[in-house]
Subunit: 406 residues, 2 copies
């Protein structure tokens, strides 16, 4: 378990037994009635126009602003291609005209000794770094909570691993004379056009993270070797490695360092780890760092039968802000475990790693599960306690799923 | 310089002085008349239908089977996205119907103790590995040879860095009882449909590499996290890390180990390092391992002016079969050098690395060059001697280009 504060360690323990039973039944039932990754609607929804460049066969359209990668669409080559990467926007994207001249986009940097507004062109002269990170929606795995918290029922597909290029925030801050006194939080503000007639604070996308996150953060203009797509925050996105998706501000127009968190609703009451049924408030932990987590993507993820014999069980494992050091795979729902092998290059502590367990399987029923361990020997939790928002579900038991070997 | 045999070390030395003069003038002249990466034709050719999913703005269509990535299209995030990756086919691709059922594609494995025909489904059960490699056409850089050898005048864009997933060839060989006696070469045969009425040996794509290449080779079904695109060899490609593009057999239908090289023309007389004007024959070294190489992609690659001040000079560097350990950048055409810094994760010895040199530049004219060094302290050569086919040009001087800082 990470050192991120949680609303209740006691709640975790108390809820474990019932959550296990519920989640396991839910998964088995799911696999019996519909293949994983299939929308329950009779007809899948088409991609909305702003992301019609994505591969429609690989995506599940929950709504126009919540679009999931099918589990079967995850490959084994570490990187999630942009046209298979999930979409989750808290507001509709700003007009696409903002990417007509990417270098002209501006971000105001405040809470430094020499505050300045910088264009992307300015930023490109200030430094260059490249980092691979897991981008994961705070609500990824919500669909596996047994008590069905409200919100999009993501399973595993509100996540991907991508490579960013941009300038380290620390380089920008250094060029502007360093942080002003008293900085405890780094606040990013998105450039979305706000709906008229509503208190801006109630809808704006503005998130604060602890200032220590600055050490790894980046203002990124490129993703996976291409100018950052508009739908993913281009021309410029604040990337906060190891922190859940909402903290990675799209169309970032303001980056401010200060003593207090934003008072925007999305920070003040939204994205809080509050107990089920309890409204979020600033006394509850914010949804920030992710947890150590893994899941299995194959040899099948659609419930289809697997051929008996030597089978390659594979998936992804992440340590959030730490390297992942080990992954175990279970074929019997967690009664016994086998250590898996990592495959492919290590893209750094913020990326996920592919793992594989080659194993001889006889015909029969198996319940696949995986659990990852980070470099500090923290194991992925068996069950994440439910919370009002359905955030940060990393429990291995609820991610388990059955396969048939024939 | 690598330990790959070359047709003439003496030729390299003798040709250096004139090649330098010619190449440097050619580059300056090129930059004065047309931006790098711009086709000389007034209207760029459209993408042929079989690759109409590529980004037309990022590609130079030389012919329907030779399509180059624009230098300005290389990002800084290591991976080359599939829709920006170059195309070079020796024959038209087979019918696209072969990817309708990818798992059914078959490859015959010969020269092992238990020869067998294996489907992609079989291969997926036998192992899983992931490797990042530079895929580079043997003729990349041909356009920089001063004596203008015939063939597509690629500059730097017949190359990319991609991530493959598949089964290691060594795992397949082990599962089939190991190599039969006497194996000296690994030969891959492509599944292209051959034109009727012509000796198959004269046109088929069949290449042999030394059997030692088996240790790193892979039968790959995935590239960059997606099923291998048909245009890049899907459903199945033989990937030979560190070896030039032609050795990475698309639509591989036969993998044979034996005592001799293929007698197909593409191996026997084609892709040989023969002196200018001399036809290839088996006595000349084959085009196999690539050389240590680097080039600069920015801050500008289209000849446009760069703003004076702090500038990030960046590019890519590869060691072919060895890690690259250092890159130097010159701003004065190689008179003085500055050591650059690597950026981003290291994807392994077959991948390229991004490098950057942050430097303050006053207004003026500069000639940008880079030279890489591999883990055995071999420097990228200053000038690659020309050869009949215009292959394997890695000379740093001919890759230099001028910029104006204003």
């Amino acid at each position: 378990m990470s050192n991120t504060p949680r609303w209740s360690r006691r709640g975790l323990l108390a809820g474990t037994a019932s959550a296990i039973a519920g989640a396991t039944l839910a998964r088995v039932g799911h696999a019996q009635t519909a293949p994983a990754g299939t929308p329950t609607a009779a007809q899948p929804r088409p991609l909305p126009p702003y992301v019609n460049w994505k591969d429609p066969n690989q995506m599940i359209v929950h709504t126009a602003t919540t679009i999931e990668t099918k589990k079967s669409a995850f490959g084994t080559s570490i990187i999630t291609p942009s046209d298979r990467l999930y979409i989750r926007n808290n507001l509709p994207a700003p007009d696409v005209s903002i990417v007509a001249n990417r270098d002209a986009w501006e971000v105001s940097v405040e809470g430094v000794r020499q505050p300045r507004t910088l264009s992307v062109a300015d930023l490109k002269g200030m430094g260059l770094e490249t980092v691979a990170t897991v981008l994961q929606c705070s609500g990824n795995g919500r669909g596996y909570f047994a008590d069905s918290p409200s919100g999009t029922k993501w399973t595993v597909g509100a996540a991907g691993c991508v490579i960013w290029s941009g300038v380290p925030v620390r380089s920008v801050v250094a060029a502007l004379g360093g942080l002003a006194d008293g900085a405890r939080f780094m606040t990013g503000t998105g450039g979305e056009t706000l709906p008229a007639g509503i208190d801006p604070k109630s809808v704006m996308v503005e998130r604060s993270v602890p200032v220590k996150a600055m050490d790894d953060a980046m203002l990124a203009w490129e993703m996976n070797g291409q100018p950052l797509p508009h739908a993913h925050g281009g021309p410029l996105r604040l990337v906060v490695p190891g922190y859940s998706g909402v903290n990675n501000i799209k169309y970032v127009k303001r980056l401010a360092f200060g003593a207090t968190e934003s008072d925007a609703a999305i920070q003040k009451t939204g994205y809080r780890m509050s107990p089920p049924g309890v409204k979020g408030d600033p006394s509850q932990p914010a949804v920030w760092e992710m947890d150590v987590k893994s899941w299995i993507n194959g040899p099948t993820s659609d419930g289809g039968p697997v051929k008996a014999g030597l089978v390659q069980v594979h998936g992804v494992a992440m340590g959030a802000t730490r390297p992942v050091r080990r992954v175990d795979v279970s074929l019997d729902g967690g009664q016994t475990w086998h250590e898996a092998r990592f495959v492919g290059p290590d893209l750094g502590r913020f990326a996920w790693r592919q793992f594989v367990l080659p194993i001889q399987l006889q015909p029969g029923q198996y319940m696949l599960a995986s659990r990852a361990q980070d470099s500090r020997f923290n194991w992925q939790v068996e069950t994440t306690p439910s919370n009002a928002g359905g955030y940060l579900n990393s429990g291995w038991r609820s991610h388990a799923f059955p396969i048939t070997v024939a």
